[in-house]
Symmetry: C2
């Protein structure tokens, strides 16, 4: 398997320098995948902080010393979008966390949906791995900004803990949708709550609760999509409307 | 690992009946995952043909006999969208084929891009597996319609073999994009060519060639996405505009 070069290394804090041993997987990545030379500068970032460059100095026995030069902190590039995701199988949630972190949503709040399996919340994913997946997704995206990621008991709680104050509240629902997601959403750059069901969909009670909170049920066409595919496609529809609304252009 | 229930079984031809042995993985799926009883009717379809119901009759020793009742052939639900995808790592192409088949694009044409690895085209994926992944994606989507999928030598050839006659030709390009995909695309239900580069992006020659053919270079925001994530997000942006343009509503 060919390793994909890391776009940026993210650190916890803006330190001045560090040393990684020859056995550290990041040292191995610098050497084997990036083939970084002595004196080379590599992209680094601080989680929810600045980007910068790391100047490499290869030491004896394969260790590497890195000295940092940090830029001014840059503005968050996260979308004002909170995803409420019905807890799905752990392998599905893994793909969701990494891809949603790459796409740069502000929040991912998993909740126990009525038609989900309670055991899904007990996976080892929810110990430390979820955090590594967030970092992996942001590193892929060449961004320092990580979504806030939480796991809560039910939809009401998910909605209560969100820090996104929405202008639109949407729920994907292929069975009872009122309209297509892009008819409802239009091309505005306003904060959104987007709820996505677990594999077996919403219960009648959840639909009633969501409608009570003003959620519009919307579809993405007639095809039945896996949770992770529907999520990435919906975020694509929302984010492209967002970036065109911002008039964001390339450097 | 919990198996996901199949939404529809696709067959090659509209036969009247068949028998599957107890060892057949489809029989096992009917029994273990769908828990289908004797006399039950299950969703079946014919590839690029009609949907229908299969009446199950459990035989001695665990085999199953199925008698079919086919509907009239239904109109294709494929998007008039042809994807030109720079050949990427086989595990990436697997995800692309299955997800693009679920999302229902009309064509997926892989080509050897200048910055791709020639060895990617020699993977076992390109013997029979690609076809199984197309079927798997369509079955997930509860559709009988499979994208046309081809692998060719280069971008010019990919363009020449496409059966989609485009109104828009777009190429994802985070480095030299003119505008956001949804600014260019607007919400129209017209045929599209969409080119997506390999992991290391386009060469200057490919960009020149695409511009010569009237392709607009577009972005999906500032974040660097994996090929498969960018592809699903872009198809999401295009398909949601398509379905809202068609005024397609739920049953």
């Amino acid at each position: 398997m060919v390793a994909v070069p890391l776009n940026i290394f993210l650190l916890q804090e803006a330190i001045d320098e560090l040393e990684w041993s020859a056995q550290d997987e990041r040292t191995i990545h610098l050497k084997k995948v990036l083939r970084a030379k002595d004196g080379e500068k590599v992209d680094f970032g601080v989680i929810n902080g600045p980007r910068g460059k790391g100047l490499l100095e290869w030491r004896s026995r394969g260790a590497v010393k890195i000295s940092f030069d940090w830029d001014a902190p840059h503005v968050s590039d996260l979308l004002p979008l909170c995803l409420f995701v019905g807890l799905s199988r752990p392998q599905t949630c893994r793909k969701i966390i990494e891809q949603a972190a790459s796409l740069g949503v502000a929040e991912i709040i998993f909740f126990q949906a009525d038609k989900g399996e309670p055991s899904y919340g007990e996976s080892s994913l929810w110990h430390k791995e979820w955090r590594h997946l967030l970092i992996k997704g942001a590193q892929q995206a060449f961004s320092c900004h990580l979504p806030r990621c939480l796991k809560v008991d039910g939809f009401e709680q998910a909605r209560a803990v969100s820090g996104v104050n929405p202008k639109f509240s949407l729920a994907l629902d292929i069975y009872e949708a009122d309209a297509c997601i892009s008819t409802i959403k239009q091309r505005k750059d306003e904060p959104i709550h987007l709820a996505i069901g677990p594999e077996r969909g919403w219960s009648a009670k959840e639909r009633e609760c969501m409608r009570g909170y003003g959620f519009m049920l919307c579809h993405m066409g007639p095809r039945v999509l896996r949770v992770e595919t529907a999520l990435v496609a919906a975020v694509g529809a929302i984010s492209s409307a967002y970036w065109s609304g911002k008039g964001w252009a390339m450097r």
